[in-house]
């Protein structure tokens, strides 16, 4: 009698299609959770979020320009990136540290697939950073007075930095199986960026993850000249390249990985070369035109007789400027009360974002310069410029005022504010409300002597209507050239000033 074996013995391992992919995904989920709960990563995210929330609104107040707000999201994620570099390196070396490498060898996942799972955990950290960046930028973009256009490529730099640093940590774990390598790389990372920021020139600075500009100028977004898209391509290619090389080093020498690495290398090279191409002749021409002949590209808005000309992106600001001009005019007496102004937005874009250039005052009558930033100190500065033009007739003449006319000028500039003393402090260069000081304006500034400050302070101490009436009653004499501070005080029925009354 023979025993019939009903079924041949089959292997217990089932090779379900996509099984190892699922295993990589499961491991990636586990590693992501672990990576995001490491103490350095948690601390870095806490510091990043705390810093971002604390700074939110401080930079531009309620009037952000989105082409600047997108760049402001770039530097802080570097901290998260360094923490991710350290933590992912330690995670990749974990099985070796605990001597469990041999146990893993019998599992379905070879080492290169485990490396891929670690790489995916870095992607999770980058995605979390992307959410933070989107929140930071979205908050600025949702402000009612936000203007301009953000760039997706600029916003991508933060998450890509985290991705790049993370894959660098992963590759390092594959190359140097020692726990000391990653901390040393972090030390280099921390200080070498500061070092290269200081030394690099125009082309090589784009090799760093986040490229900071020297100037805090706000330019129209088409005149910025930042190769943001190429830079994002370069960063993405580099991050991908490092990650794929880490998989290759771990033994995943599959054709698809090699092809991917070659593609990533090509991306990096294309991005790296294209981003350092420099400024195109068209851009230089456009910048020159916007600087020297802004009227050719601006659109104008007429309101109550005055004209407000702005670069297209600043169209909505016209109403804010008109509000200030109306209030300044309402305090003026004589013909200035009815004088129509031309408010002209001006920039010096010829140096791009690499330098700040002071604007020369305009010489056309009744034309006032306004800058590209608004809110905070920019409001009383513009009000002072508008008041100067109302009194002196044109900006160049207003900038050379150096007599008692400063008193009605500054009264017009700050008298209408809800807290005139605070506005006065903000518009003066040294933040003082006594003594002599320079007064800031969109173009060149003014100089207030100690005596003029005394008279103005006395005027501001009066009830607002009373002070306004006194200024309007003597408008002609107050705004006559060469009037002294003492004479202005006498006209306004205020105590004579004791301080120095001499312009420097």
């Amino acid at each position: 009698m023979t025993t019939l074996v009903e079924k041949p013995v089959t292997s217990a391992i089932r090779n379900a299609p996509g099984g190892s992919f699922k295993a990589v995904l499961a491991l990636a989920l586990f590693e992501s959770r672990r990576l995001l709960t490491r103490i350095p990563v948690l601390l870095a995210f806490a510091v990043y979020l705390g810093w971002t929330l604390w700074r939110a609104g401080k930079a531009w107040g309620d009037y952000p320009a989105l082409q600047d707000a997108d760049r402001a999201t770039q530097s802080a994620p570097m901290l998260v990136g360094l923490a991710v570099l350290l933590s992912v390196n330690q995670a990749a070396l974990r099985s070796r540290r605990h001597g469990t490498e041999r146990h893993f060898a019998v599992l379905v996942l070879p080492q290169w697939r485990r490396t891929a799972a670690h790489g995916l955990s870095v992607v999770a950290a980058a995605l979390l950073t992307a959410v933070c960046v989107a929140g930071q930028f979205g908050r600025e973009a949702l402000r009612p007075a936000a203007i301009g256009h953000g760039s997706v490529s600029e916003l991508l730099v933060g998450p890509l930095t985290v991705l790049l640093f993370g894959t660098a940590g992963l590759l390092l774990a594959g190359l140097v199986r020692s726990a000391i390598a990653a901390p040393l790389l972090v030390v280099f990372g921390l200080f070498l960026f500061a070092f290269f920021w200081g030394t690099s020139d125009d082309a090589t600075r784009w090799l760093l993850p986040a490229v900071v500009e020297a100037s805090s100028n706000t330019l129209p977004s088409d005149l910025m000249g930042r190769p943001a898209a190429w830079h994002a391509l370069y960063l993405a290619g580099l991050a991908l390249l490092l990650g794929l090389v880490a998989i290759l080093v771990a033994g995943g020498r599959k054709p698809v990985v090699m092809a991917g690495a070659a593609g990533a290398l090509a991306m990096t090279l294309v991005g790296g070369v294209a981003q350092s191409a420099g400024e195109s002749p068209g851009l230089v021409k456009a910048r020159e035109r916007a600087t020297l002949h802004p009227e050719q590209v601006q659109t104008c808005l007429r309101r109550d007789g005055s004209t407000y000309c702005a670069f297209p992106e600043w169209g909505p600001r016209g109403a804010d400027w008109a509000g200030v001009v109306d209030r300044v005019r309402s305090l003026a007496g004589g013909s200035a009360h009815e004088q129509d102004l031309v408010v002209r937005q001006r920039i010096d874009a010829r140096y791009g974002l690499s330098g700040d250039a002071a604007l020369a005052p305009l010489e056309r009558p009744h034309e006032v310069t306004v800058g590209t930033q608004w809110g905070g100190n920019r409001v009383p500065e513009f009000a002072a410029a508008a008041a100067g033009v109302l009194i002196a007739g044109d900006e160049k003449a207003a900038n050379s005022i150096c007599d008692g006319r400063i008193v009605p000028l500054m009264w017009l500039a700050v008298g209408w504010e809800s807290d005139p003393l605070d506005a006065l402090r903000r518009v003066r260069l040294d933040d003082s409300v006594t003594g002599s000081a320079y007064v800031l304006q969109p173009t060149h500034g003014l100089y207030m002597t100690e005596a003029q400050t005394e008279v103005l302070r006395a005027l501001l101490d009066l009830p607002r209507d009373e002070a306004g009436a006194r200024v309007k009653d003597h408008w002609g004499e107050l705004t006559a050239p060469k009037v002294t501070a003492a004479r202005a005080a006498e006209l306004l029925d205020l105590p004579a000033p004791e301080g120095e009354d001499k312009c420097s």
């Binding site: 350095p40 601390l43 350290l86 726990a179 901390p183 040393l184 030394t199």
Partner: protein, 208 residues
């Protein structure tokens, strides 16, 4: 005493010289960067501080001892063994520091005594951190977590250390002298921490 002399060679063999050497090389590289140009010279103080941090990272691995649990029963007590390791590494650290200082061009070298105080404080803090990790846990290799803590502390201190008690000041700053009195306090605190933590507890903490 005889026993201690016998211990020198075995302890020397367990000191992680390769890690310390790698950190030292990285530090010297950072210090040597000060010779690469004018901007680098301006940054010499920061590069030297980076070099100090790099070497401190290496020193955090000083108390790594995979055989820790087997040597806890030897008659030589832990303070002696820790002290022996420290004594072994001191000449190396001193030599490294001298070379690092000499790599910085003399005209931009920060005041030697003061910057040495900073270096000493950082180095002792790293070793004391490792001693604390050994004292309060059962880990055999405290280097890895301690470097993480050291780097985190360094970054947080540079970002958020209140200006009233400034530590990281530039040479021309008027707070330089006061800052180095505070560095002295940091050094003293680190030495104290290290001495306290080097003592072996009588009972092992039993985890239930």
């Amino acid at each position: 005493m005889f026993l201690n002399r016998q211990l020198v060679l075995p302890v020397h063999r367990t000191v992680p010289w390769r890690g310390i050497g790698a950190a030292g090389a990285a530090g010297l590289l950072l210090a040597a960067l000060t010779r690469t140009g004018e901007t680098a010279e301006r940054l010499s103080l920061y590069l030297l501080r980076a070099a100090i941090l790099a070497f401190a990272v290496g020193l955090a691995f000083l108390l790594d001892d995979p055989a820790r649990h087997t040597t806890s029963t030897v008659p030589t007590r832990r303070p002696v063994r820790v002290a022996l390791r420290t004594v072994l590494v001191v000449p190396a650290a001193a030599a490294w520091w001298t070379v690092a200082l000499l790599l910085v061009p003399p005209e931009v070298r920060p005041p030697v005594a003061d910057i040495t105080l900073e270096a000493g404080a950082a180095f002792v803090l790293a070793v004391a951190g490792a001693a604390a990790a050994v004292r309060f846990s059962e880990v055999t290799r405290p280097g890895r977590p301690v470097t993480g803590a050291l780097l985190t502390t360094a970054v947080l201190a540079m970002l958020f250390w209140p200006g009233r008690w400034a530590l990281f000041v530039p040479v021309e700053d008027e707070r330089w002298a006061a800052a180095h009195e505070r560095w002295g306090l940091v050094l003293g605190g680190a030495v104290l921490l290290g001495v306290v933590c080097a003592i072996e507890p009588l009972r092992r903490r039993v985890r239930l």
